[in-house]
Symmetry: C2
Subunit: 194 residues, 2 copies
């Protein structure tokens, strides 16, 4: 792995442990075990670190949500697994979701984060929209479902449930059960369509 | 209004503007125009301020979500208005929702906030559960809806949509449209039941 990736992994850890306000170049250098000069070389300044970290969180989520279900043979199963994977008690997912929630909350106070967060949110929603449309073509989601709206509601539901889970207001099993209910409410019972 | 209320209103403003980390007794005294001694008199210490502020935010939300629709004659309309009022561009609702989101995000890093936040979340969810059950008795929500689960999903959806709106990833009109879709997905079309 490259030094750049090492630094970004350390940056997500810092944001997940200490919040975005804890993400300072000196502390990041210490956490990553590199010099501050190397951080400035790769990211120019603190704003560059923050922006690359957001990008990294969003790309990493696309990777860990890769699932077993074959998107060709079972697009609905693939879609459901992709969304349910966001609610899992693995260190990487907890760290990634914590950092994402922290960026979401920080963007309220820090307008400079907003545009990039909006773009990352749209990319996620568009991806889920596409999975819903594939499931519709396959006949496992009813044609009358508005895939764009359903994708926005499902991803917003994950953010809401995930924040409740991470902040101790909701058990993980319950969060996953509720999300399965969201899927049925939005897309109908999988059984009914087949 | 009492001095205590003045202080709590100032505390919500501070949390909404500067985050929970900005809520220090000295700064709060300045914002509220009172002495630090008066704050210590009413709330004992900073933890007491934080805890009473969370309580105040949650109670104030119950007040501003009071709506026109008669809960007896039109419980489904009353329920929908109650939930949609959380997504409105008025200074008090923006301030309250911002502070609530900040407390939610902070509880991930500050375990001492969790128990009270969990209790406030449960109180909100139970209230919505009760409104759904009333609408079921009235025949405007199908009897097979699990009111407890629907209440948890709807309130989590509001948190998710509200954070997207406040952080600039979603327009308010779109957020309200999506929430109306959540209501139909969870509770069926109002027309179908009547």
């Amino acid at each position: 792995m490259s030094r750049r990736t090492d630094i970004l992994e350390a940056a997500v850890r810092v944001v997940a442990q200490r919040g975005i306000r804890g993400l300072r170049v000196e502390e990041l250098a210490q956490e990553a075990g590199v010099s501050t000069a190397l951080i400035y070389y790769h990211f120019r300044d603190r704003a560059g670190v923050v922006s690359s970290t957001l990008e990294f969180i969003s790309t990493r989520a696309e990777q860990y949500t890769e699932v077993d279900a074959d998107p060709e043979a079972d697009p609905r199963g693939h879609l459901e697994q992709t969304l349910l994977r966001e609610l899992q008690d693995t260190p990487m997912i907890v760290e990634n979701s914590t950092a994402w929630g922290e960026l979401r909350a920080s963007a309220i106070f820090q307008p400079e984060l907003r545009e990039q967060l909006r773009a990352a949110t749209a990319r996620w929603t568009d991806y889920i929209d596409e999975l819903i449309r594939t499931a519709q073509q396959h006949g496992s989601v009813p044609p009358e479902v508005d895939s764009g709206e359903a994708a926005e509601r499902l991803t917003a539901a994950i953010e809401g449930l995930s924040m409740r889970w991470l902040s101790g207001s909701l058990e993980l099993d319950r969060a996953r059960k509720l999300l399965r209910g969201n899927l049925i409410a939005e897309l109908g019972s999988p059984g009914e369509q087949r």
